[in-house]
């Protein structure tokens, strides 16, 4: 589909107390100012504009909750909502999937 520079749609809040992982068909390519994520199944391309967001995504499946993963990477409470929204966007494009218990 065509690209939107910004999203005005209402994104459901991502549950930080859940476990998340990267979809197996996603290729993560670090870049100096973040990362590129490409989903071979959906052919969607996402650009992460923050290195810490990349780091969170890389360690996500090592932790029982997304909240913990964010904490380990050093995200403060005041910054958390911004990163939570970012993770929600990745969930919406199927880059991230919930880990079923």
């Amino acid at each position: 589909m065509t690209a939107c520079a910004v999203s005005t749609k209402n994104t459901a809040t991502l549950d930080l107390n859940q476990a998340w992982r990267v979809h197996p068909q996603v290729s993560i390519r670090p870049e100096p100012f973040g990362a590129l994520l490409y989903h071979f199944g959906t052919r969607k391309l996402s650009f992460l504009k923050d290195r810490r967001l990349l780091e969170i995504v890389q360690v996500l499946s090592d932790y029982p909750t997304a909240r913990q993963a964010c904490s380990v990477i050093g995200i403060t409470e005041s910054e958390l909502p911004q990163f939570q929204r970012a993770l929600a966007t990745l969930r919406d494009s199927q880059m991230l999937i919930e880990v079923s218990v």
Binding site: T2, C4, V6, T8, L45, S46, Q82
Partner: protein, 34 residues
């Protein structure tokens, strides 16, 4: 569709949009490709 900065957006949404850490790009959205 892309939004130009000149579009009127409620203040709270404008803040949200400006700080988005994830941007989606169409794999077809790069010029210089067949």
């Amino acid at each position: 569709m892309s939004q130009s900065p000149q579009n009127a957006i409620p203040a709270e949404e404008a803040v949200l949009e400006a700080d988005t850490l994830v941007e989606e790009v169409s794999i077809d959205g790069m010029c210089g490709v067949y």
